[in-house]
Amino acid sequence: GAGVSQSPSNKVTEKGKDVELRCDPISGHTALYWYRQSLGQGLEFLIYFQGNSAPDKSGLPSDRFSAERTGGSVSTLTIQRTQQEDSAVYLCASRDTGRNTIYFGEGSWLTVV
């Protein structure tokens, strides 16, 4: 597809389990972002990847959160030992080098029960 693709679209998990969320950015986009959107809240920056540079992890809320980007394309956000407060929509976005516009996927809705 032409847009940012995320999977799963919905995930219900039990407290304490690990989850992996996947993002497939727009082909050729070198910059990739993860944001979190809690119910009724704005978008909270989590992590940023740019090419082969070291990622900007400054937004990750705890060491239970990690992300990787393999081959400069697909990214996986991992949340270990999930907590109820992790319930949110996790949005991935990508941007072409030197361009302004950041394009978002439709998000992965995570519910921790």
Binding site: Y35, G42, L43, F45, Q50, T101, Y103, E106, G107
Partner: protein
């Protein structure tokens, strides 16, 4: 800390009316101010954006007004339509190579027929 403050939290407008959403930022290290529109179940999509050296930008029924000295910017939707009902986010982009966006908390707009 919240660097972009958005108001109101929700807004109800009659069809044909003007919708106005306001944002203020607290940091001068921003160089680009986009507005995103989000429909339920979808990711945010870029609506319109402005640079701080311009005081106003208009695209169709959507206008951004920017006041650099007051560190404020606003979105005006003229002739509001029921199809404009969505959540609107203002954002400010960090003036560094990350192009990281800092988002406001969002405004839920309802346009009544």
């Amino acid at each position: 800390q919240q660097q972009v403050k958005q108001s109101p939290q929700s807004l109800i407008v009659q069809k044909g009316g003007i919708s106005i959403i306001n944002c203020a930022y607290e940091n001068t290290a921003f160089d680009y101010f986009p507005w995103y529109q989000q429909f339920p179940g979808k990711g945010p999509a870029l609506l319109i954006a402005i640079r701080p050296d311009v005081s106003e930008k208009k695209e169709g029924r959507f206008t951004i007004s920017f006041n650099k000295s007051a560190k404020q910017f606003s979105l005006h939707i003229m002739d509001s339509q029921p199809g404009d009902s969505a959540t609107y986010f203002c954002a400010a982009r960090r003036k560094d190579s990350s192009y990281k966006l800092i988002f406001g908390s969002g405004t839920r707009l309802l346009v009544r027929p």
